[in-house]
Amino acid sequence: MNKFSGKAFTVARHEFLKTVKRKEFLFMTFIFPVFLAGITLVPALLAGMTPSEDQSAGYVDSTGSFDFPVEVTNGGFAVGPFGEKSSTIEFVRYEDSPEASKALREGEISSYIVIPEDFLETGVIELYVSEKGVPVPRADLAADLSDIVVTSLLQDEVDEAVLRRVKDPVNIKLFNIGESGEADEQGIADILGDLGLPFLTAVLLFFSIFSASGYLLRGVSEEKENRVIEVLLSSATPTELLTGKVLGLGGVGLLQIMVWISAVAFGASYALPLNLDPFLLFLAVVYFLFGYLFFASLMAAVGAMTSSLQESQQVAGVFTFAAAAPLVFIQLLLTKPDSPLAVFLSLFPITSPVAMLVRIGSTDVPFYQIAASLFILMLSIQGVIIFSSRLFRAYLLMYGKRPALREVLRNMREG
């Protein structure tokens, strides 16, 4: 890159201050984490606060051999300190279907089941629900009924322990074997830490790279649209403008990602028993910087080549989509982080920042791969910056029709 000049600094400072004062920036930086926290925590909070839903279910036992309890209570599942949600199903006995149906219509019960006479042969139980109203969740009910059926059939045949095993045959406990060989029980927090955190980091990285380079795209397009660009070019060289913009908005992005990381770190220490790996955070910042430089330079070229903000955003969308690929393949990256596609995605410059971070979070990535991905990214940045500043110079003052691909390629070569 060219030497840093005073004018590039002036541009950088202007862009930084202008963007930081923007409402969109303040919203994205401070409200977005709250919003993100909101969509994950609020349902849990709400679930914790709402009283358990008690329902009444009727039953008609045509076989006459089942022993229904008066009510069953289902333990719910929730993460964090918000307690568990439980629901109780109360069973009411009816002699025949019409009687139960009448009770259902009158709203005494929300649903009823009919156990036909040939249940032992077919295993079929009929569930009747009202068109209105919320019936008992079927999964819960099926589990409860299974228990009731197993209990009724086996209660007198086998002892208590066998009965429990038939009801609940297998419980899997997960252990991690570390490098030193000791087994380590993996709890729910670890699963979240191993899968959720890389995902969260990847999403945040993706958003911060794209919001920062999006500001750049917008800035260039706006200056082109409102024709300030020509005045700027009479004062500074295209390279100075490009450098200044990339640095200034890079500062904005860095500030944003710092706020987000602090929010995640704070939130993690408060809500989830997680340990944030400092090395991962460091890599996140490095990949942010590299990924940002790469995309910002691309966006600058796109902004310079197109003549309106709308048009530029359409073209930029193609790159954004390509960069979002790791999020599309997130499952693969999390479950098979060493598969060839995952390795490729973490090396290919457009996808590497996000993909590599996900992989690092979910597996031990060999150091040479991290080094290779950073190296490839650096080379690509160099190339993109060279081509972008050429295109920047060639197209900043051109309005009207979008340049043809061949012309763009020619300008890339000639500069």
């Binding site: 202007h14 024709r227 003052l397």
Partner: protein
């Protein structure tokens, strides 16, 4: 007033030049936009860069500013090829101009000044004093989009001189300006020149160019077609005729007009020595017509006159006298004074507008 017509190139080089352009050409996509243009701009003058739309004026200006580079030829600004320090001494008002819509007035002006390497403090001072001088100080905290269009245009002009540059390049500064803003900007340009700075003014508004510019370059289809001082060009292009108004002629006449100069000149001959032969005079036939014939007949017999043509402009009648070759203006004036009461006597100079149209049309028919 100013120096005469085209100077030989060597003479020009010896003067104090702010801009020198030598044999510059530029083509875009195989199309020649600028073909072998040379000119120079002297310190402390208003230099007009004239030409029809699409002639290449803006391209020429962008090359002066090193925004685009010429394919061939040399451009020197402040005596050398433009360096960053040189750029800081230039102010530029592009034809396609705009402002940051959502930025505060003062902030924007300060930013633009800082890009010219003016310190932040100085930039604030400049911005405030310029805003005061244009009566816009009270709006300094407003955003550009809150200002009226007239104010925005003044701000645009102001932004090009925010760093008090030694050279200001104004590309069509009057386009889209209301008469009041035009007047303000015009006064500023003259004021700026008078303070010893140099102004390059690109326009296709010839009336403005004629009153403002000291010297001009006319560009048409990328070629230089006319270059020199405004006075010199007008004298050179003059038909060497004299415009005369005298008592007892053209009074009380409100209709009927005779030929003007230019292409219609030939048809005007019919009126010479005539007694209202042409259509214009006929339509005004009355007692006045006879009076006029009498008045006109007074001019008969002036020796050394080739032709006399009647004119009417803005309800004023006057005659144009074409002397014979070698006859002095002085001799004709003496003859006139002895015959009639002369109200006006001046050498006819074509307007820049006429010269411009003539030149460009001649160029087009080539």
């Amino acid at each position: 007033m100013t120096e005469l017509t085209l100077l030989p190139y060597e003479d020009i080089v010896n003067r104090m030049h702010v801009v020198e352009v030598e044999g510059v050409s530029k083509s875009f996509g195989g199309k020649d936009i600028i073909r072998d243009i040379s000119f120079s701009v002297e310190k402390g003058e208003i230099f007009g860069l004239l030409g029809p739309n699409g002639a290449g004026k803006t391209t020429l200006i962008r090359m002066l500013l090193d925004i685009i580079r010429p394919d061939s030829g040399k451009i020197r600004v402040f005596g050398a090829s433009l360096d960053p320090a040189g750029k800081d001494r230039i102010g530029y008002l592009p034809e396609e101009r705009g402002l940051y819509r959502k930025t505060k007035l003062v902030d924007m002006l300060v930013y633009l000044a800082q890009l010219k390497n003016v310190s932040g403090k100085q930039a604030h001072e400049n911005a405030e004093s310029l805003l005061r001088s244009l009566g816009l100080y009270e709006h300094r905290g407003k955003k550009v989009e809150e200002l009226s269009k007239g104010m925005q245009q003044k701000i645009q002009f102001l932004s090009s001189i925010i760093h008090y540059p030694d050279l200001v390049i104004l590309d069509e500064p009057f386009s889209g300006l209301d008469p009041l803003s035009t007047k303000t900007v015009k006064e500023r340009i003259i004021e700026y020149r008078n303070s010893g700075k140099t102004v390059i003014l690109s326009t296709h508004m010839m009336e403005q160019a004629q009153t403002l510019c000291d010297r001009i370059l006319v560009v048409d289809r990328g070629r230089s077609v006319l270059y020199g001082s405004v006075e010199g060009i007008r004298k050179e292009r003059g038909k060497n005729s004299l415009l005369v108004e005298f008592a007892g002629y053209g009074e009380g006449l409100d209709s009927g007009h005779c030929s003007k100069y230019g292409p219609e000149y030939g048809t005007g001959i019919g009126t010479v020595y005539g007694e209202g032969v042409n259509a214009g005079a006929n339509s005004g036939v009355n007692a006045g017509g006879n009076l006029e014939a009498d008045a006109l007949s007074l001019l008969r017999g002036i020796s050394g006159v080739r032709i006399i043509v009647e004119h009417e402009e803005e309800h004023k009648k006057f005659v144009e006298i074409f002397p014979e070759e070698g006859v002095s203006t002085q001799a004709i004036l003496e003859e006139l004074v002895s015959r009639v009461e002369v109200l006006r006597f001046e050498q006819s100079l074509p307007s820049l507008n006429e010269i411009f149209i003539e030149t460009v049309e001649a160029n087009a028919s080539e």
